[in-house]
Symmetry: none
Subunit: 401 residues, 2 copies
Amino acid sequence: MNTLELIKRISRPTPSKIVLLVLDGLGGLPGPETGKTELETASTPNLDGLAARSVCGLSDPVGPGITPGSAPGHLALFGYDPVSYNIGRGVLEAVGVGFDLQPKDIAARGNFCTVDGAGLITDRRAGRIPTEKNAELCRLLDGMVVDKIKVLVHPVREHRFIAVFRGEGLSPDVTDSDPQQVGAAPDIITALSPADEKMAAIANQFVAQAKTVLAEHIPANMVLLRGFSQQPHFPSMAEIYKLKPAAIASYPMYQGLARLVGMDVLPAGTSIEDEFNTLAQNYGDYDFFFVHVKGTDAAGEDGDFHRKVRAIEEVDRALPQLTNLQPDVIVVTGDHSTPALLKGHSWHPVPALLYSEYCRTDSVTEFSESACILGGLGHFPATQIMPLAMANALKLTKFGA
Amino acid sequence: MNTLELIKRISRPTPSKIVLLVLDGLGGLPGPETGKTELETASTPNLDGLAARSVCGLSDPVGPGITPGSAPGHLALFGYDPVSYNIGRGVLEAVGVGFDLQPKDIAARGNFCTVDGAGLITDRRAGRIPTEKNAELCRLLDGMVVDKIKVLVHPVREHRFIAVFRGEGLSPDVTDSDPQQVGAAPDIITALSPADEKMAAIANQFVAQAKTVLAEHIPANMVLLRGFSQQPHFPSMAEIYKLKPAAIASYPMYQGLARLVGMDVLPAGTSIEDEFNTLAQNYGDYDFFFVHVKGTDAAGEDGDFHRKVRAIEEVDRALPQLTNLQPDVIVVTGDHSTPALLKGHSWHPVPALLYSEYCRTDSVTEFSESACILGGLGHFPATQIMPLAMANALKLTKFGA
């Protein structure tokens, strides 16, 4: 029996409320001048005060040394083992742009690319065409019907798009056309089993027609498809935890991930204050809230140490809006680290605090990477956050007699 | 998907370099006079200085409470789950003497022993005959052909040898002839399934012929065989980590373990300075170096607390030879603990430090058991060392989008 099955057996609905506040990319690395991380540099009296009443620790989203993408990082926070609960690339892109995937849809990630006269790829990203140009080209391809299958083409950013195949008899088990290198021709998409022949044929026909349509649109005169996939069927948080969960996140990717585990998505607005207002307004209607803050990660990705510090301070200033609601359990953590020093996601464990009346407070009085090392949660897998939150909300019954 | 499969998917070759320095049996127990372990007693300014720039912790090679042999201890450090990746005793001995095992060979560990007139064992180790005598006796048995199967007999040390059965239709699934006690007759080797009957018959015939050949060679007038086994097929470090790995170890056992995971074995010399010279000379040709120091374990096994302290200090004095090369990642740890107090391997977690520019330094400024408890790596399985080293060398790409 895995942990989710166990939790499903012992979870029970109660009126108690859990708020999971995710500061995307929260964990950092010391800045060279001060030897302090972004979180250690930020002035965070409210988070520190909450940490003092909480149990703290450092969590690994996927595992030691593993740098998580956004999807694995969030699935772990929702309690789903991110290695077992896998989301295909095409579906993830569709989720990321808020595309309304149907259960039988097959989604692929697409690149506009450049091919030469011999059909060989000279640029896998078509010179990173502007997003506006992308949208214009997608309109040329969108809605094409191939052998009764409708192909929906939707722009993402720059050269990236999604192709969603809608109709009967499709399957995701086909190879990519993207050879992931220049100098080669796009690969023929092939079926992994006889049942997948139809999908492969349709996808190849779509690619051929797209090539014709795009012929004059150099540098974007061809498409590459990869990561054919179907919406996964994850057990919902309602099923597992017997929660009525809601997501407050302003980016489509996180809204989409929340929908995949059965959360309602509430309007998030554009600032942390907006998000906390949404939380307050809907506080009576749900018993679990996932609140997502993007600014921390965005600053880290840009390598902007001080902007990340300010993004953390902004959350800290707004925090009383959340704590004043007096949720039974508050978790504050990140889905992974995004140190400004590395300008990207990293493998470093993520500070986490869990507040409840029953959390068994530790000696940590500052919410920071170095302080959390000595916390009562220790160094733990992020998938343990939900069982701990559930327990602290008194939503788990005894295991065994 | 297990961790190695995951790492294999996300690893990438880069020019960055990792050095794994293993002080065999590093962990210890407090001496009764001072309450300090061997490592805490040793004067180690260089290791302490490195620890201050590193992230530290305590690692369990196999699991809490489990005392590892040399093979599991090292396999864990190389990232291979030592319970799943098992090496038979015969193969381990063959590996230990650098014997060139073929894939179908069946290797057994042998003891020369003494039997009395009734055929009962009076000394399982034949009075620990000198290695020279052992070699002479092995020459008498080596190359014997039993029913078209060639038996290769190779000396190890004192009373120990290996018997390697080479030919068609053999299998490792037979019982030992060594009853592991005196006063008993050697056991008949028996097949564990009908398919193993041939192996059992050949092994018994070899034992019978060896008894005849050795009849006049008291105290070494009989042989005992155990641990029949076949070379395991481990995925190589090149496959998993995309590393070009080299081993610098002066004992055949560690060279052999390194070969099993695909490392090149470099000439190690006889001292730690020799080993570090080899490291410097070959530094440009590899991106991963396993450097093995035996003195710490040997002193611990002998119960010689102060010799173990000196062995640690010797490494510390030579350490600048390593750090001056400025590897991107340096790991210093042991394959297990060997407290002088216990005169043998033990289950105690092993101090570990990992240095890199991106390691997120913790508050530990002394490389010792008690200081490492408070380190940023916490208390962790030794199999996590390689994923962490790989991550810190920026050799792992993101998992999931």
